[in-house]
């Protein structure tokens, strides 16, 4: 390394990437030119959470102009094998529904047409007949004996169950004087990128393979999964990535099932096929982090020493397992005791399938779920002991000087000084001041709380950790898996220009910048002398199964490979230069674009001349040396060993440390949680570029604010998906993302990585959600703090119990039409008065011609039997209009007293299944019609219309009964007066 200038590594150097991005010159996936004749795909998706596919008729769609192919699961089947995951199982998943649909949004058919508009036009002309099945969305309920089973072949929704004992947690809990427990529910959330999935797939008849360009952030081990599923040699699956990424945060690792189905679609359509995922598709059917229910128990002593943890996880993976799932829970396995010296830990992992979108990688990858449980139980122990939460944490922190530290579950925590990080944070983050602030706020009657959280931050995953979910016997049979190979290729061309090609598939982090810093330092060149290209091409690049962008692998692994490759270039060029400079190799240094003798700096050659020699004059090279300069480094860390016979696993290579504390104030009237003060500290080892590191902290912190306060993919108990748009799934914007205090603390290099760097990109995903939860628990003295901390929910925690009752003279609530959408269905109850006798009302209700007039938007009903009508109706609210096929059945008819009306509405906007119970009671001057109904809504309308669903249902029911009054008693009273009466009963405006 040059001794005449400050190394570039460690300096804030502006990102080279930004010139392109900020000038609007980036080439994202959708910007890549496509071949003439490329078809555009649109997916027909399931409106049901769980249903059997009876038939699919695409003939009408196929007859449409511009439609070239409609591809279904059965069409895909002959060209594929099931997509494999890390353990043997009978699940048959190929990226598209085969016999059943198992979540709202699951692909059912692919239309390939000359443009996307036409492809989408054709969707509603594909007729799919479903048999709707019961759905299950709760991972604990899904394990019950009588739960609907998603995959019959698996026999159960619990597809993997493993128990791990490290030490004797059962014994410790049995004998401990103190023990406690808490159950946490971690919601389904994600980190949503601006750019959604995009794929161009092209079948190559000459090789029988496929060329794919996509913004998949692999290739990773998943390339293998795709090749096996497509039944082709992996070399024939060529994958290329676009030059720029619009973000991923993990989500783009799980797009591979789409790659597989679009490859086959291209083969069947005979043309390249392009698909750009839209936002609705992304929310419903791309990928989310596993939700989790964890019951965690802890044993502890009087002084706060924690002696054991025992936890049982129900990890909710949605409808299918997709590689590398269920990796998040196993990625964290080695760290089951976080940063604490807890000697005993028992972990039970239940991997559960539910009727929701399948899971995948999301920034944090298993850490947020685990640490939420551990840091909440630590907080609870402190409370039980009357100890300060930070004092309790400090009591149990792994002591400085004990690194590398082998945690009971196997993590070899390489380095750290946790006590110093805490000390720096307390000082710079002004904890004393914050405590005074809390005391003052509380004295004023305010709800103010302080929270703490700490986390070991793993980076560079051991490719063998997923094998931990297999039993020892299964592992022995399968052979060892371990390591995490990273690669880098550096070339020096004929003019001495340096090109670096890496395997990190960046998603916006600034890898080009960091790699240029590292290589420039090694070769004594200027930053601008280094060209870094991180686009990937699996047929032309050097890569191995760990290649790609996930789990903070860049800082430890990709940098180590780059450093190693650069050293090899340096060694080679030193040998070439030594010959010309006539000095021993030890006397040669690379500095300022020169290769020179340290002892006689005038004796020097330009770097570019030495590089050029290797090309222009191979004869000048030392004997036996290959011409040209292109060095490939494959780098691996020996510390990443396979799972031991006792299930201990060093899940990652380098372990950073994150420590946060915060103060929150909660508005008792609105339940709004305001982040008043936030302090975050990170030891990520060698800091490659402080600007990039701070960017990662800010980004992760903003994501974590989202997870803590705003973000959740909401499903009803019947599997209906409600978070289809950005107005339903709320992410923090600039107005919500406060800037934390970033502590200047230790940077203890990892002894196991070439530059000493550890990851930093995920730290706040781990600490911030639970730090805020602990603060809210402190402010409210409330235990069951679940995320997201929505104001409506927090308000309930503060002001639970009964609300102020309605005044006596106002109509009783139950007499009005009330709609409740808090359970599994939209339920309503109400009554209305019709000034006509029950017999007349009955007649109006049950005559198909009359009923057609009652149903909003219905012109005609066909009577198939006394109790079975069908018809087409065009209904909606405001500008929202859809055409639906109605199927109505009458049950339990007791003329003229009561009837049950069951119906289905099926249309492109969605499907609703409902039942109404109607009771007619004779009253003075007419009939009181009492009714209640239950509606299950599904499909687009539910996922995008959530905010207005209850109101819309109310409106349509109102229309029905208004029409009933008008039809049953046309002359009985002035129209206006009647309507006024009904409207007031329905709570509308007078």
């Amino acid at each position: 390394m040059s001794e005449t200038r400050e190394p570039l590594v460690g300096q804030t150097i502006l990102r080279t990437e930004d010139q392109t991005l900020l000038r609007g010159k980036a080439t994202f996936m959708d910007d890549i030119p496509i071949a003439k004749g490329t078809l555009h795909a649109a997916f027909l998706r399931s409106p049901h959470a769980h249903a059997r596919i009876i038939s699919i008729d695409a003939s009408a769609a196929l007859a449409m102009k511009g439609v070239h192919a409609v591809v279904t699961g059965e069409d895909i089947r002959p060209y594929t094998k099931p997509l494999i995951v890390g353990f043997k199982n009978p699940l048959d998943y190929r990226g598209i529904a085969l016999d059943k649909v198992r979540y709202v949004g699951e692909p059912v058919a692919i239309v390939c047409a000359t443009d996307r508009y036409r492809a989408e036009d054709a969707l509603k002309h594909i007729k799919v007949e479903y048999e709707v099945l019961d759905a299950v969305v709760d991972p604990v309920k899904a394990c019950a004996e009588d739960a609907p089973v998603l995959h019959e072949a698996a026999g159960s929704n619990r597809v993997s169950h493993r128990v791990f004992n490290h030490g004797d947690a059962d014994g410790a809990l049995e004998t401990s004087k103190h023990k406690t427990e808490i159950t946490i529910r971690y919601p389904r959330n994600s980190v949503t990128p601006m750019e959604t999935y995009g794929i161009v797939a092209d079948y190559k008849p000459d090789t029988g393979g496929y060329d794919v360009t996509s913004n998949f952030q692999g290739p990773f081990s998943v390339h293998t999964v795709m090749a096996i599923a497509l039944k082709i040699p992996s070399a024939k699956l060529r994958h290329k990535s676009p030059p720029n990424s619009g973000g991923s945060f993990g989500s783009k690792l799980t797009m591979f099932p789409y790659i597989v189905v679009l490859c086959v679609a291209s083969r069947l359509a005979g043309r390249p096929v392009k698909w750009i995922e839209d936002r609705l598709e992304h929310h419903a059917a791309s990928s989310v982090a596993p939700g989790r229910v964890t019951r965690i128990e802890a044993a502890y002593e009087d002084d706060g020493t924690v002696t054991a943890l025992r936890m049982e996880h129900y990890d909710d993976h949605g409808a299918h397992l997709r590689a590398p799932m269920p990796a998040p829970i196993y990625r964290m396995h080695g760290l089951s005791t976080n940063c604490y010296t807890i000697p005993n830990v028992k972990v039970t992992n239940n991997i559960v399938l539910t009727n929701k979108c399948p899971t995948g990688a999301v920034r944090g990858f298993g850490g947020p779920q685990l640490y939420f449980a551990i840091e909440r139980v630590m907080n609870k122990i402190a409370k039980e002991l009357g100890m300060d939460p930070l004092a309790l944490m400090e009591k149990n922190l792994i002591p400085a000087g004990s690194f590398p530290y082998r945690a009971p579950a196997g993590a070899l925590i390489d380095s750290g000084d946790y006590q110093q990080v805490v000390k720096d944070s307390v000082e710079q983050g002004r904890l004393d001041w914050l405590r005074e602030r809390r005391a003052k706020a509380r004295a004023e009657g305010k709800l103010y709380g302080i929270g703490f959280a700490a986390a070991v931050e793993p980076s560079q995953s051991n490719m063998g950790y997923i094998s931990t979910l297999k039993t020892r016997e299964e592992r022995e049979k399968a052979g060892p898996k371990d390591g995490a190979v990273a690669s880098c290729t550096i070339s020096v061309d004929a003019l001495g220009s340096v090109t670096v090609v890496g395997d990190s598939t960046p998603q916006g982090q600034g890898h080009q910048t960091a790699l240029a810093q590292i290589v420039a330092d090694e070769l004594g060149l200027a930053f601008s002398d280094i060209t870094v290209n991180l686009e990937t091409d699996t047929q032309k690049d050097n890569w191995s199964i760990a290649a790609g962008n996930y789990s903070c692998r860049f800082s430890p692994a990709s940098t180590s490979a780059a450093k190693t490759a650069a050293e090899r270039v340096r060694v080679k060029m030193t040998k070439v230069a030594g010959r010309f400079l006539n000095v021993p190799e030890e006397d040669i240094e690379f500095t300022d674009g020169m290769i020179r003798s340290k002892s006689n700096p005038d004796n020097a050659l330009e770097f570019r001349r030495v590089g050029g020699l290797a090309h222009w004059s191979p004869s000048s090279l030392p004997d036996g040396m290959d011409p040209g300069i292109r060095e490939v480094a494959y780098w691996n860390a020996p510390e990443l060993t396979p799972t031991t016979a006792n299930d201990e696993i060093n899940t990652s290579l380098a372990y950073g440390f994150a420590f946060d504390f915060c103060g929150v104030e909660i508005d008792p009237d609105t339940g709004v949680v305001k982040v008043d003060h936030y302090v975050t500290a990170h030891d990520c080892g060698t800091i490659l570029n402080p600007g990039l590191a701070k960017g990662q902290i800010r980004g992760s912190f903003a994501n974590a604010i989202g997870a803590a306060l705003y973000e959740e993919f909401v499903y009803k108990e019947d599997g209906t998906f409600l978070s289809g748009t950005m107005a339903d799934y709320l992410i923090p914007t600039a107005a919500e993302a406060v800037d934390p205090v970033m502590v200047d603390t230790v940077a203890i290099p990892s002894p196991f990585t070439r530059l000493g760097a550890k990851g930093i990109a995920e730290g706040n995903q781990y600490t911030t959600p639970v730090c805020l939860a602990n603060a809210v628990a402190d402010a409210l003295d409330y235990e069951d703090v679940t995320m997201p901390l929505t104001p409506s929910k927090v308000f309930e925690w503060i002001n639970g119990g009964e609300e102020m009752p309605p005044p006596a003279d106002i109509e009783k609530a139950e007499e009005r039409l009330t709609v409740d959408y808090s359970g599994d269905a939209l339920r309503g109850i109400g009554e209305t008065f019709v000034p006509a006798p029950p017999a007349k009302v009955w007649e109006t209700l049950l005559d198909p011609a009359e009923m057609a007039r009652l149903i909003p938007g219905c012109k005609e009903l066909d009577k198939h039997a006394e109790d079975h009508f069908t018809g087409t109706l065009r209904m909606g609210v405001g500008a929202v209009r859809g055409t639906f096929e109605a199927d109505i059945r009458l049950k339990n008819m007791k003329k003229p007293e009561s009837v049950e009306i069951a119906g289905t509405l099926d249309g492109a906007l969605g499907v609703s299944r409902g039942t109404g119970w109607v009771v007619l009671e004779e009253a003075e001057g007419g009939t009181t019609v009492k009714y209640r109904y239950e509606i299950h809504l599904s499909g687009t309308i539910a996922s995008v219309g959530g905010r207005l669903l209850s109101g819309a249902a109310k409106l349509l029911i109102n229309q029905f009964f208004r029409a009933l009054v008008a039809r049953a008693a046309p002359d009985s009273a002035p129209r206006k007066g009647l309507l006024g009466k009904i409207r007031s009963k329905f709570g509308g405006k007078q």
Partner: protein, 272 residues
């Protein structure tokens, strides 16, 4: 998220626009700023055969702000109203409410009249129209009519506008000089749809409170001489009268509680 096929008509006069929507009937939708309609088109929640774009009609670009109030034509954007030099002087309550309408970007396109016609129950402009007792002028081939807010606002996403009518303008009367006012909105994030929005006006012993986001349409309640001690009961009555709906952002009860609690603070501040 690509819309179904549609034609677009760009009329040169209001007459032409009105003739077109009359002819097309249910198949036509009027588009001005498109900040709600475009998203609905892209999600195929609505599939009109014809869009009638009134955003370029000079006749509808009337924006008058004076002592009488605000008169705004159908092609005037929310941003144009917001940035009008006289708005703060004559209609400060409108300025306050407009700051909560979507975001800077959507206000640059979205129109005041479009928001009134879309009739989202959480929207601020319908709330202000109702609270201030404004009017909407509708024009059809057979003439024009002016409806009061209470006549115009019939419910969730619904108005009294007939299919053959074009909303050409709206009028928001100004408040008397003696009146005091306040506006409060609770939303999940800055710029989100209101969970509850409230506008309060007090003058000569009469308190008028408009509430959006709870019922299907803005609800206005008026009290003559509302004693401070009576505020909680009055608001409780109003809250129960409106009922409120559950959605993924908030429960019906939460909405009623905001009416009680934030409503009380707002009224007290206005009366102070």
């Amino acid at each position: 998220m690509k819309p179904a096929p549609f034609s677009i008509m760009i009329p040169e006069t209001v007459e032409e626009a009105v003739a077109c929507i009359a002819e097309q009937g249910e198949d036509a939708r009027v588009i001005a700023g498109g900040q709600s309609l475009m998203a609905m088109l892209n999600m195929r929640l609505t599939e009109p055969k014809m869009l009638v774009d009134v955003s370029r009609l000079a006749e509808l670009h009337k924006l008058e702000i004076g002592p009488e109030g605000l008169t705004v034509g159908a092609s005037v954007t929310q941003a144009e109203v917001f940035h009008h030099a006289d708005l703060a002087r004559h209609m400060p309550i409108i300025r306050e409410a407009l700051a909560h309408v979507g975001h800077i970007q959507t206000r640059n396109r979205g129109t005041v009249c479009g928001s009134l016609c879309h009739a989202d129950p959480s929207a601020e402009m319908p709330l202000l129209l109702a609270t201030l007792g404004g009017t909407v002028t509708l024009q059809s081939a057979s003439g024009s009519r002016t409806l009061s807010a209470s006549e115009f606002q019939t419910g969730l996403l619904e108005t009294a506008r007939r299919q053959d009518e074009l909303c050409v303008s709206a009028h928001f009367p100004s408040l008397p000089a003696s009146a005091k006012w306040g506006f409060r909105e609770i939303s999940r994030r800055d710029g989100d749809f209101a969970i509850v929005a409230m506008a309060c006006v007090a003058d000569k012993g009469v308190v008028r409170l408009g509430v959006g986001g709870v019922s299907d349409a803005p609800t206005v309640e008026e009290w003559d001489r509302l004693a401070p001690a009576d505020i909680p009961d009055a608001l409780n009555r109003l809250a129960w009268k409106m009922g409120g709906n559950d959605d993924i952002h908030a429960s019906a009860r939460y909405r009623r509680e905001l009416v009680r609690r934030i409503g009380k603070t707002l009224i007290e501040e206005v009366l102070a």
